[in-house]
């Protein structure tokens, strides 16, 4: 295990930021800490980095108890949402900073900087100041700076949060490829479920200071531990006692399937290749949302006021709406 977090708790006055967190992250893995803002995921990351101190619990990094170590001694690379580049230093100087602190020979520093700038595609900007770079370039610079000291773990706090949508997508793919190349144990914080699902080997869902679930992207999506995880990873609607995804609902124009729920189409909205239906169902206050393909909708010949029967598709991921025991329920 590269990072071992055991029983970590942190309070700010009355506010419980983290409550008894236990998680182990294997060496070389790319992990996402996913959750809503203020849920405690950044605090956990900062505690791993030594930028905050936990009130209780221990943090081991590479088998060494790092709980009391200052950030300087932990050998972690940290990347901030707003880059935190040294504005008065050139790109190359920024990358060299950690190596110069470690008093490495000049030639070695130079070679290492060149190698890293190559890796993050910033070689031609080596002598520019950060103010002459775009946001995406600055974040790549920050990443190169963090990697230069060959950290045992790389921690990224909402690394793409300040970038616009297109650059964010590019950098996300690039981070995945970079990780496959460098293989450093990496943890990144995000509130964007798509980002986590797309990039991470493993996702830790954190909410209100507690871990809701740990698992691979597929596990989380297919077998959410509870309605929170399910809701956080994608759109959710309610059909009778179950919460399920809108595309996991079968629509029929006749009462064929046993146990199917009758309803009336209130609204049909076409968005690109899909059709979103709002269906009023008896005995349920909020309407059911259904997503189906355009072809399918056309075949059913639906219009406003059409009577339909809804049932979960075979193999649909569902969880009970008032699921007091937090266990996944997979209906057949």
């Amino acid at each position: 295990m590269s990072i071992d977090v055991r029983g970590v708790g942190k309070r700010y006055g009355d506010f419980v930021a983290l409550d008894d967190i236990n998680v182990s992250l294997p060496t070389g893995q790319l992990t996402a800490l996913l959750g809503p803002s203020g849920g405690g995921k950044s605090t956990l990351l900062r505690i791993i980095a030594g930028l905050e101190t936990a009130d209780t619990g221990t943090v081991d990094i590479e088998g060494v108890d790092a709980t009391r170590l200052p950030p300087q001694k932990r050998n972690v690379g940290f990347v901030f949402q707003h880059y935190a580049v040294f504005k008065h230093m050139t790109v190359a100087k920024n990358v060299a900073f950690g190596l110069e602190i470690r008093k490495r020979p000049k030639a070695e520093v130079k070679a290492k900087v060149a190698e890293l700038l190559e890796l993050v595609h910033l070689s031609q900007f080596a002598h520019r100041l950060p103010s002459q770079l775009s946001g995406g370039q600055r974040q790549r610079l920050a990443l190169a700076r963090a990697l230069a000291v060959e950290p045992s773990v790389l921690l990224l706090d909402e690394p793409f949060g300040a970038l616009d949508a297109k650059v964010r997508k590019e950098l996300r793919d690039w981070l995945r490829r970079l990780h496959d190349e460098v293989h450093v144990t990496t943890v990144f914080v995000t509130h964007d479920q798509e980002e986590a699902l797309e990039v991470a080997d493993e996702i830790v869902v954190i909410n209100e200071g507690r871990i809701e679930q740990i698992g691979s992207p597929d596990e989380l999506y297919d077998e959410p531990a509870n309605d929170f995880v399910m809701g956080f990873l994608g759109a959710v609607t309610r059909l009778g006692p179950l919460a399920l995804r809108p595309h996991d609902i079968e629509v029929a124009v006749e009462p064929g399937v046993v146990g199917s729920t009758p309803g009336v189409v209130q609204r049909a909205l076409r968005v690109g290749f899909e059709v979103r239906l709002t269906v009023d169902v008896e005995g349920q206050e909020e309407p059911v949302l259904v997503v189906l393909s355009r072809t399918h909708a056309r075949a059913l010949d639906l219009e406003l006021g059409s009577r339909v029967w809804l049932s979960p598709t075979t193999g649909a991921t569902t969880v009970p709406v008032l699921g007091v025991p937090r266990e996944a329920v997979v209906s057949a």
Binding site: G50, V76, F78, F86, M89, F97, G98, S131
Partner: protein, 289 residues
């Protein structure tokens, strides 16, 4: 958070950079007859009050040609006064650059009861009339000093007076920059292995340098031209404790307008150079972003 009376002189902060409000370049109004008249009146008053008198100083200095101007300034007694002024001003500037930064640091980063009082105290030397500043110092370090130290007519006295009146400059230029420094950057340095001292030296201090330089040049300009606080303290002894501004007064009292004007022109040049230096500094900072 700093309630300050001191907006240090020098180019007003927003004027140096290309204004973000766009109106200043594109959406300017054309002069109407009324505003044109207003501009005329304003220019006449500004000329009568400022431009013509300053031109008269330059004119008086230039009257005897450059040779006479040069002779006045290199006259042994005048030169001694100028040298003393510059040396004292440089010393004070040096002390202020260090101490002012330390004071700003403590006021921003430290927390202790009474900090707000100290924050107000910084402004007092600037808010006090200069003659009162001199008197205030004499009450402690004068002929009737309760600690038995008399600085009247000594170079130490001049140094102390200049230190007093220039106290706010570096503090007040560095303070806002320190307040806005990004904590992330310091955390980044720490996680890269930098100790607190190294972080200060290599990351924080370079960000403060433009502000320290700006505050220092303001303080230097003030020290060079200081008059009021020195009148009571400097004994005006030639070669010993005579400074430039007092030399001007002496020339004037001796009916030597050309001599007074020559020294005054030198002080004017320093003033203009300061404005230029500050403008360059603020442009450089704006470029770094």
């Amino acid at each position: 958070m700093t309630d300050t009376l001191v907006t240090p002189p020098g180019p007003a902060p927003t004027r140096g950079r290309p204004s973000g409000t766009a109106k200043s370049s594109g959406g300017l109004f054309r002069l109407t007859p009324t505003s044109g008249l207003g501009l005329g009146v304003a220019l006449v008053w500004f000329s009568v009050l400022v431009l013509l008198p300053l031109a008269a100083v330059v004119g008086a200095a230039a009257e005897g040609g450059f040779g006479r101007f040069w002779d006045t300034l290199t006259d042994a007694q005048t030169f001694a006064a100028l040298r003393l002024t510059v040396v004292e001003a440089l010393l004070v500037t040096l002390v202020n650059a260090v101490v002012g930064t330390v004071v700003a640091w403590v006021l921003v980063r430290d927390q202790f009861p009474g900090k707000r009082v100290l924050d107000v105290v910084i402004d007092i030397p600037f808010a006090l009339p200069t003659i009162v500043a001199g008197l205030v110092l004499l009450s402690l370090w004068g002929p009737e000093s309760p600690v038995g130290v008399n600085i009247v007519n000594t170079r130490q006295g001049i140094f102390l007076a200049l230190l007093f009146v220039t106290l706010p400059f570096v503090v007040r230029t560095v303070q806002p920059v320190l307040l806005e420094l990004d904590a992330d950057v310091e955390e980044a340095a720490a996680s890269l292995g930098a100790s607190r001292l190294t972080t200060f030296r290599r990351v924080i201090l370079p960000s403060l340098v433009p502000a320290i330089a700006a505050g220092s040049s303001l303080g230097f300009a003030r020290a060079i031209s200081e008059f009021g606080s020195l009148v009571l303290i400097s004994g005006n002894t030639p070669y010993e404790t005579e400074v430039a501004s007092l030399k001007i007064l002496k020339f004037l009292e001796g009916d030597n307008q050309a001599g007074a004007a020559a020294v005054a022109v030198l002080l004017l040049i320093v003033a203009v150079l300061t404005i230029v230096v500050l403008d360059i500094l603020s442009r450089r900072v704006a470029r770094r972003g």
